[in-house]
């Protein structure tokens, strides 16, 4: 596997670790952005250009900013007095380690059966457009309805409630 893959994987994992371990919440959000960028570059390495640019546009351009605004609006940047990890942190860590062990074992067991290196597929945006309007038109429309509902729901949930008649 190539040098580029190792560098990008190291960047992404480092970003993820920093996002989960740092004390300052805004630093965690920025480390998450680095992880998103690393993942977008991994997508580009896998010849999925549309997915890579969509990842940057949606995750870094929208989700990261959303997270940061939520941190600001909930005063997350003030350091908590009881520490940043929950009192049940050991159980959580054990569960996560067990999940990684199972997944890693599954991948390594199946390693001889996985397909090897293959030539890069040539995917044009035209093909993606045809697929979205042809075979995947129903998921596209449902995603549209879902996004509308989510938008209306998020606005209503976060709305300042007016004082009702007492």
């Amino acid at each position: 596997m190539s040098f580029v893959f190792y560098v990008l994987a190291a960047l992404t994992v480092a970003g993820g670790l920093a996002a989960m371990l740092l004390k300052n919440t805004v630093h965690c959000a920025l480390a998450l952005t680095v992880a998103f960028a690393g993942l977008a570059l991994l997508f580009l390495e896998l010849d999925a250009q549309f997915a890579g640019f969509a990842q940057i546009l949606v995750y870094i351009g929208a989700v990261a900013i959303l997270v940061v605004f939520a941190i600001l609006l909930t005063r997350g940047s003030e350091t908590p007095k009881d520490g940043v990890f929950s009192h049940t942190w050991l159980a959580g860590l054990a569960v996560a380690a067990a999940v990684f062990a199972v997944l890693g074992w599954a991948v390594l067991q199946a390693a001889p059966l996985l397909p090897g290196a293959s030539p890069a597929p040539v995917v044009t945006v035209q093909q993606i457009g045809d697929a979205l309007m042809g075979r995947y038109v129903l998921p596209l429309e449902i995603a549209g309805v879902l996004l509308t509902a989510a938008m209306i729901g998020a606005v209503i949930v976060a709305l300042h409630e007016k004082e009702g008649p007492k």
């Binding site: 919440t25 997915a51 997270v67 908590p80 009192h87 976060a158």
Partner: protein, 103 residues
């Protein structure tokens, strides 16, 4: 080890890091960050299998990943709206203090 196995291991590692964060951090927003990491790890899995799978011209993996990105963004928006509303009510986002149903 094939390239595909490398990508799958990276995705598994990211997934467990996200899971560890979601299970151990106190701040509700950091739990949501962990969930976003898990979703991204799953996307990496999908794209890796699309690239090294038998029929990349069918675009199934890429489509799945694109829809997953869109839906994850919507879910992050709603989740963060909920966190903001909870903060307005309880004046804290510390999950260890939210262990009672009585408001």
């Amino acid at each position: 080890m094939t390239p595909l196995a490398g990508y799958l291991l990276v995705a598994a590692l990211l997934f467990s890091i996200g899971l560890a964060g979601a299970l151990t951090r106190r701040n509700a927003i950091l739990v949501l960050i962990g969930i976003e990491l898990m979703l991204n790890a799953a996307n990496l899995n999908l794209i890796a299998f699309w690239r090294y799978g038998p029929h990349p011209e069918a675009l199934t993996g890429m489509m799945f990943a694109i829809f997953s990105i869109a839906v994850a963004a919507a879910e992050a928006a709603v989740g963060l709206g909920l966190v903001i509303q909870i903060h307005r009510h309880a004046h804290t986002t510390d999950l260890d203090q939210m262990n009672r149903m009585k408001g």
